[in-house]
């Protein structure tokens, strides 16, 4: 366990408060966060320069000196190397080493190698440093962007497309990473080089130097002007790409309306037109870009032209010394490269600045939630009590239409209030304002004497529960989706298991800090048990199971539990009981003479009810390696098939299957369900197989080409005799498959571990559902009602062992799918309610949260929740603000608010309102 000395308090202080406004200039943004590093990298670059130039210079000295023999005119001549003299004087500090020609060669070559290494190391260090700098900045930028999304005012989300936001955060800022390391170093460095070369030319000849400088200035002025068009195009390009990803996201989310309305071609055409526009923008961009390049190159070559013509003219006229001209031209050769690179750098700068500002524009939103209101708070939040005071509330939507006007309300927080009103009556808006999902346009809302808008989210988010009608749930396990509402701050640090972990963790923490991310650690335990009224994980699970029963989800969860695929290591208790249940199942089948109903998985015998593939691998695929029809093709599987000689046998069988299929199905219409039932291949593949049969039907395995082998070899893998009844299984083949099964299992390579969960009669199978683990075999076909009987038996055994709660706990592992879509709408709504009540709020806001349930269920749950809120279970009572879908239900509450056309028209006890004979009386009548 590793913590900074200050512990949690310090971590909370390190939590960065991201400013609302984004820095408009990328350069300033980079400089603000990396100035020290930029200076450092510049220093290192400068430090690397001397060795760099020495390395360039050395080859010349090697050639001129030892190799060509300058200074070694006689065989025993020697020279002094590395003589050091005091600069600007003749005082010799070090006489140097006296070396012969061979010795000099050896020394210079050794120096060359050393310099090459040193240069390489410099380069390595500089590039790594720059890369890390860029990645840190990228991380900071992305973090800050999403931080702002978390604080966007809710109405903003009506204008946002999720996929556009994600493409901005992910793709559009990506090129910035590569630029950040070079943002300052490169221009300084290249500029320095260019100025040096220019200075040298100027010293040689003022005239020619002036010419060269003039052209560079023309480039510096002219090119950026040309670039402006480019910038405009770059903006368009980026916007159109973003919109494209927005549209693609929309297609995915709206696929059901595409399919049910035959609008796929409308979508295609829209897509094609969009891609066409993008193409034209990009094409124009390239044209302009390469035109500018052309101008640039032209200007670069224009200078030598001037040198040759003007310089030559001056030299011929005798105004210029030829030696000077040659020196100038030589120096100029060094000039274009830094200038060209500088121009490239500038191009990149323009690109990323455009990208950056296009992104920041979208993220600089007005009325963002104050970062302070979202400060992490580890402390226990006091219960809300006192009153809700709403006075003169008015709410307008984006277009200025009034949703609510002049609504005033005063009531105790723990009052049970029903809100009645049709769509657009203002009822839903009213509770959404109290839940802070819609901002009030004017008026004041106070809770317990404090303005709602100034309350930290730590208070409202923990003490107020909210369930809406949409029931959207992010993808996770069922349990995690419920616990989600209990994760507000890291409460208990996680424990590093080993020194390596500790080390890694320390590194992660340092990097987090350097990138300005939040130090709150994801791997800590964030679950606030106390606020759920429990003290540990087990109690919480029990509590959640109770709540699921409370909303009548316990049977659903039991069913999910039977289907759940649970890792035995995560839930060892389940695995043990299920193994026990498996044994009981065996005995029970035996006792009741139903043994034939299930063909168990036995490593030593062929399971007739399973396919050949399953018999061979004898397990369930976990990863993709052995899943589906491609399993036969896996290199390891192929090797085993080959070694055991099973490949030839299965190939022959494949030919037989194709033949039988052809014989039986040739005249069958392609939409006949039999094709699906047999599932060897799709009807349109029939022709392929027919062709392959006529060409290779008699070829035999050894002579068959690879693709033909694959074609036929894959067929038997999905064959099972009881299902297909082609009469192709022989005792010999069964034995061969069982033998191959053993070979496959015995030589199974370590690196494929985790790709298959093998069937083992004495072990829980991690890739099979709980129910399949109990049955541990295939239900026999051909016995009437066998699946129903077996299912009933499984349920009976599990119930008899008192495992129903354990099974429900397994159900909590169920993956609810993207957006919770693997659950029904009603189930999602019930889960939303559990989410809202598990944190034991002081006020529960229900915004038509039961709409998806049948009326009887709605009434049952409503009655239950009211009883719970009254404190019937010895718990603290809590308040309810409930927009009811059926007005009659409002009579069960203490108080009713009736909304009509944006106004609060009636407010009082349900009985009184009914007696008074106003709106409410009419609605419920």
């Amino acid at each position: 366990m590793l913590r900074p000395p200050g512990g949690y308090a310090e971590i909370m202080n390190d939590h960065p408060l991201i400013p609302d406004a984004m820095e408009a200039s990328l350069a300033r943004y980079i400089w603000r966060h990396t100035k020290a590093q930029q200076v450092w990298i510049l220093a290192i670059v400068l430090l690397s320069m001397p060795t760099y130039f020495l390395a360039l210079d050395l080859p010349k000295r090697i050639v001129n000196g030892p190799i060509q023999g300058r200074g070694f005119e006689t065989p025993d001549a020697t020279q002094n190397f590395m003589t050091i003299t005091l600069p600007y004087t003749d005082i010799v500090l070090f006489d140097g080493v006296e070396l012969t020609r061979m010795g000099a060669l050896a020394l210079l070559c050794a120096m060359f190698l050393t310099l090459v290494c040193v240069n390489g190391l410099f380069k390595f260090y500089i590039n790594t440093y720059k890369g890390r700098l860029g990645e840190r900045m990228l991380r900071r930028l992305r973090y800050e962007l999403v931080d702002r999304v978390l604080r966007f005012p809710i109405p903003q989300f009506r204008k946002l497309k999720a996929s556009e936001v994600s493409t901005m955060v992910k793709d559009e800022v990506e090129p910035l990473g590569g630029f950040i390391g070079d943002a300052f170093v490169l221009p300084v460095f290249l500029g320095g080089q260019a100025i040096t070369a220019l200075g040298f030319i100027l010293v040689q000849n003022l005239w020619l130097g002036g010419l060269a400088a003039g052209i560079v200035i023309v480039q510096a002025v002219f090119i950026p002007r040309l670039r402006r068009i480019l910038i405009k195009l770059a903006k368009q390009r980026q916007l159109s790409a973003r919109q494209l990803s927005g549209r693609v996201g929309e297609i995915v989310e709206g696929i059901s309306s595409v399919r049910t309305n035959d609008t796929s071609n409308w979508e295609r055409s829209e897509l094609a037109s969009r891609l066409g526009k993008i193409f034209l923008i990009r094409y124009e961009y390239y044209q302009k870009k390469f035109f500018i390049k052309f101008i640039n190159n032209f200007l670069a070559q224009f200078t030598p032209f001037l040198f040759y013509s003007v310089g030559g003219y001056l030299a011929i006229r005798g105004n210029l010394d030829i030696g000077q001209l040659v020196a100038v031209i030589a120096a100029y050769k060094d000039l274009p490269s830094p200038v060209k690179e500088l121009i490239d750098w500038d191009q990149q700068r323009v690109d990323v600045q455009v990208k950056y500002s296009q992104v920041t524009e979208q993220f600089g939103v007005d009325n963002m939630v104050d970062a302070k209101l979202q400060m992490p708070d580890k402390a226990r939040i006091e219960s809300l009590d006192g009153r809700i005071e709403v006075s003169n509330l008015a709410v307008m939507d984006d277009s200025g239409a009034k949703l609510i006007e002049h609504a005033s309300y005063s009531g105790a927080i723990n009052e049970k209030v029903a809100i009645v009103g049709g769509v657009n009556s203002g009822a839903e808006t009213f509770v959404d304002v109290l839940a802070r999902l819609i901002p009030a346009s004017s008026g004041s809302i106070q809770i317990n004497g404090r303005q709602l808008s100034s309350l930290p989210e730590a208070i409202t988010g923990r003490r107020i529960g909210y369930a809406g009608s949409d029931g959207f749930l992010p993808q996770s396990s069922l349990e995690d989706s419920i616990i989600y509402t209990l994760r507000h701050a890291p409460l208990r640090p996680h424990v590093d298991q080993s020194p390596e972990d500790e080390h890694k963790h320390a590194l992660e923490r340092r990097e987090t800090k350097l990138s300005g991310n939040t130090p709150l650690e994801y791997s800590d335990d964030w679950i606030d048990y106390e606020s759920a009224g429990v003290s540990n994980e087990d109690e919480l699970t029990q509590h959640i199971l109770k709540l699921l029963k409370f909303v009548e989800l316990d049977n659903d969860v039991h069913d999910l539990g039977l289907l759940a695929i649970v890792d035995a290591e995560e839930f060892p208790e389940l695995a043990d009981s299920i193994l026990e249940a498996r044994r009981k199942m065996r005995d029970k089948l035996e006792e009741s003479g139903m043994s034939a109903h299930v063909e168990s998985f036995d490593p030593e015998t062929y399971n007739a009810e399973a396919t050949i593939g399953e018999n061979l691998f004898f397990g369930r695929p976990i990863g993709r390696e052995f899943a589906d029809a491609a399993a036969y093709n896996h290199p390891y599987a192929s090797r085993i098939l080959k070694d055991t000689g099973l490949d030839a046998k299965l190939y022959a069988m494949g030919i037989e299957i194709a033949r039988t299929m052809h014989e039986l199905f040739a005249d069958l219409s392609p939409d006949d369900p039999l094709f699906d039932q047999f599932s060897f291949f799709r009807p349109e593949e029939m022709g392929n197989y027919q062709g392959a049969l006529s060409r290779h039907g008699e070829t035999g395995f050894d002579a068959a080409p690879g693709d033909i082998r694959a074609m036929f070899l894959k067929l038997p893998f999905s064959y099972s005799e009881p299902k297909h009844r082609f009469g192709l299984m022989t005792e010999d083949l069964r034995q061969a498959i069982v033998d191959a099964r053993h070979a496959f299992r015995d030589n199974y390579p370590e690196d494929l571990k985790g790709a298959i969960a093998f069937y083992d009669p004495d072990a829980y199978n991690n890739a099979s559902s709980v129910e399949d683990n109990v049955i541990f075999g295939r239900i026999a076909s051909g016995i009437a009602e066998a699946p129903e009987r077996i299912r009933a038996l499984v349920l009976e055994i599990l119930a008899g062992m008192g495992l129903d709660d354990t099974i429900r706990r397994a159900g909590l592992y169920f993956d609810i799918g993207a957006g919770g879509k693997r659950l029904s709408h009603a189930q999602r709504q019930k889960i939303s309610i559990v989410r809202a009540v598990v944190k034991q709020p002081d006020l529960l806001i229900m915004n038509r949260a039961l709409g998806g349930l049948d009326p009887r269920m709605q009434k049952t749950l409503l009655e239950r929740i009211i009883a719970d809120a009254t404190g019937s279970d010895g718990k603290a009572p809590y308040g309810l603000l409930w927009v009811v879908s059926q007005p009659q239900l409002a009579e069960l509450f203490d108080r009713v608010l009736v909304f009509k056309d944006g106004s609060l028209v009636e407010d009082g006890k349900p009985g009184e309102l009914k007696a008074k004979g106003g709106h409410f009386a009419r609605i419920v009548a």
Binding site: L674, E721, R725, G782, E785
Partner: protein, 154 residues
């Protein structure tokens, strides 16, 4: 485990299918499910919706009608009989319960497959019509005698 050819032989012996050629019989056999029922087990239940017809391959079954409180065995079925086709053809609930009276082997033909069979083979359609017509004639006869009996009782 019986192979497809055994089933084809069995099917061929059912008069209804006797005129179908071997290839089509194979298809029919493949498409249908062979099921074994233990004595007393219910093949279909009166009032349920029907999704399949059954051909008895082996053994015997009884046709049971449930009234308000009692049940009455109205007929016995044996090898090669076809049953359950009414619910398929006219989308009405099962008119009677079929129960295995001993070990019973049946071939279950799904609604979809059965209708395909009828449209592909006029001979089968006629065969089914004949079965239905027979039953209708018998029922009419029984109704007639029942009415006569009632009239006699006064």
């Amino acid at each position: 485990m019986s192979s497809i050819m055994d089933e084809v032989d069995l099917l061929r012996r059912v008069p209804l299918f006797s005129q179908i050629d071997t290839a089509k019989l194979k298809l029919l056999a493949l498409a249908s499910e062979r099921l074994r029922y233990a004595p007393g087990q219910v093949v279909m239940r009166q009032g349920d919706t029907g999704d399949a017809a059954f051909v008895i391959i082996n053994g015997e079954a009884e046709v049971v009608i449930h009234n308000a409180h009692e049940e009455q065995v109205v007929a016995h079925l044996g090898r090669n009989d076809i049953v359950g086709e009414i619910a398929i053809l006219c989308d009405v609930p099962r008119t009677a319960t079929i129960r295995a009276s001993g070990d019973l082997d049946v071939l279950k033909i799904t609604k979809d497959r059965f209708i395909r069979l009828l449209s592909d083979f006029p001979a089968v359609s006629i065969g089914v019509m004949r079965v239905l017509a027979d039953r209708l004639a018998r029922t009419t006869q029984e109704l007639y005698s029942a009415q006569a009996e009632l009239a006699a009782k006064g």
